[in-house]
Amino acid sequence: MEILPILSALRRNKVGAVLIALQIALTLAIVCNALPVIQRHLERMRRPTGIDESNIFTLNNQWVGQPQDLRSRIKGDLATVRGSPGVIDAVETDSFPLHGGGSSAGLFLAPEQKFPTAHTAQYLVDEHGFATYGLKLEAGRWFTADEIGEMQPHDTKVPGSIVITRNLAHALFPSVSALGQMVYMDTRAAPSRIIGIVERAQTPWAGFSWAESFIENSTFMPYEFLYKGQYFVVRTRPGQMAGAMQAVQNRLFAQSHQRVIDDVQPFAESRKDTYAVPRATSVLLTVVCAVMLAVTILGVTGLTMYWVTQRRRQIGMRRALGARQRDVLRYFQVENLLIAGSGVAAGVVLGLIGNLWLARHLELARMGVGYICAGGAIVLVFSQAAVLWPALRAARVPPAAAIRAL
């Protein structure tokens, strides 16, 4: 293989070669560090909430003034919403998954315990909660109508029975079944019995880093939320969301105008809102990475193209001296392999250093050497592809070019 002549030719074009190697090194280092960030964002955004997201919408209702007959108003509202066309079921509550606000509590296994065994989000639901959210029951049962009590904001009541998520069940009782066990929400009050376990229900705080450790720890408490402002969570029949959203609002206003209704939103929109920043970041990073790769590849093609034009006479001479087309093609590909290879080597080192810095400052996972080397191999393939067209043109230079004037 004619490595030595290639090297000596490169020495005359060293600035161009170094520039290509630098581009490849930077591109590799940046893309390899950006991909895990994108991947982490995507993983977080894709986590299911555990509820029937595509058919649920939520709305906020606030009664004006200080209504004395709240209990009957809420009962009336619930009947109205549940009876609206296209509605499967509905609950009224203070919070729901991805809502951003809500209550959390520590759960204790014994009254004398100082620190809670697990943290949980608290959701207020009645017997309709199961059908409204479209939850999956793993064990036990859901609440019956006669178990439902009333809860006002800041009440310190503790329910006799609760339904919890599978993750919370495992956090509380790693080795035995949680079903039927007693836990304390307040160590000075009576314990609550776990009567059911559902597969999954995210807390209201997905997307907040402080709540990351208990994202799927949720507790359902059998209470009607008795307050002059509440959220309605409404599940509609597939395909009937838009109509139901309008119908529910119209019927609520027909019932009484002494209210403010806002935040009427399909759950899919809540999800988009929650993850707007990670989504934007991943899209922008992806675009930057893709364009950077494209610019680097085009740069390689452009510069090689130029070298081919510059060396037309030399190529002609080599062809006249007996080099085959294949040899010329190989010359440019080996040359590119040398340049891109040193770029990739520098890029691997640079990428690993960058990853160390990112891991320290952004708590990102450390990157495997194999991973970045694989990235390097892909960049090498791209670079070889980029050089193919100019190299083919070089191969087609006729031997007679050696004696023709430029």
């Binding site: 520039l19 591109t27 707007a276 934007a280 970041t281 899209v283």
Partner: protein
Amino acid sequence: MLGYYLQLALRSLRRNRPLTALMIAAIGVGVGASVTLYTALEAMSADPIPAKSSQLFNVQVDNWGKDQESGELAREQIAYPDAAALLRAKPALHQSPMYPLAFNIRPTTGDIKQFSAPARAVTADFFGMFLAPFASGGPWLRADDQRHANVVVLGASLAARLYPAGNAVGNVITLKDRVYHIVGVLKPWRLEPRVYDLTFRVFLQTEDIYLPFSAAIANQLWTAGGNWCNRPFPPTWDGRLASECRWLQYWVELPTASAVADYHGFLVSYAQEQRRLGRFHWSPDVGLPDARQVLRAANMTPPGMRVSVIAAFGFLLVCLFNATGLMLARLSGRFTEFSVRRALGASRREIFGQCLADATLVGVAGGVLSVAVTLLGLAFERHLLRDDYARLIVVDVNEVIEALILAVVAMLGAAIYPAWDASRHPPAWKLKAE
């Protein structure tokens, strides 16, 4: 001479179209992407009140103690007993305890649908401390704080909605069945992030209604914001006020370093006194970060955003190397021309100048492209971000100028070596070789 250079440059641009187009594209896209992402990062991590941020201090008093697992939770908030005691102890200071509220407002005209307006309970000092701009009227008096007066200052949008004629000051507004006199109306006021309360929706605008803290407490208006408790929350109003729940932000203005040291000393002695009184069972743990430190600790910038900006500037560097390489290629294609010019008497400096003129032209073209990329990129970013964050990203002439200048400077930087390389060749040397 410059005109001649530009003429030559134009001609050469036309001669080597693919390479030139590639250079313009690289500079345009590289600069555009960096300016786009940097603008977003800057918007999210900006100091919203640079004139005051080193003089405004957030008062933190640990009222839970170290044995609490969640002792660090909501440190920027304090409990009512502490807020009341601090306010009493130093009446001369510019300071404000505060908390968020929300009211349903009945419009005075037109539509009967009520709407909800964010509000905040503050002291008279608040407006001067945070540089709230008044359109008419002014803040209430300190005496109004003393006597729990039912007065309010309205934000610009609510005042315009309720009193379109601009006569809000002197009129009244009904909040939770109580009548408040309007003493002032603010101009549109942006404070993003809303540094004095970073607990929720921090990029949402400032409030529509401000009322005296003392009146809000006297009227038993409970917070619409966060409330962090280490024990179950008492059901009665008096119980809530006396509880150790953290739900108030407390800010003081301390203009000098000695004032800061004094106040810090005062906080420590206050905490010691609470220990003596048996309320705290731990050595004093107080904090007095300024607004900048509070913002930094809250870490408003999403972590992915920072990585994106680093990536974008790396990308710009790649584009610069790219442009340098392509410039090198383009110029070395013109060595014959330079040799002839040198042989005809052009100095090395003149060749160098000619090459830079050429690069400037490419830079301007790249700059125009980068402005287009920036505008598109920012529009795309706003579309992706929605709501709070999106409102931060404002496209103004600054970004356009930044992009243009950056593109030209970058291209000139990229062209220096190739230009020097081109001017190095001796006259007619190339001619001989042909």
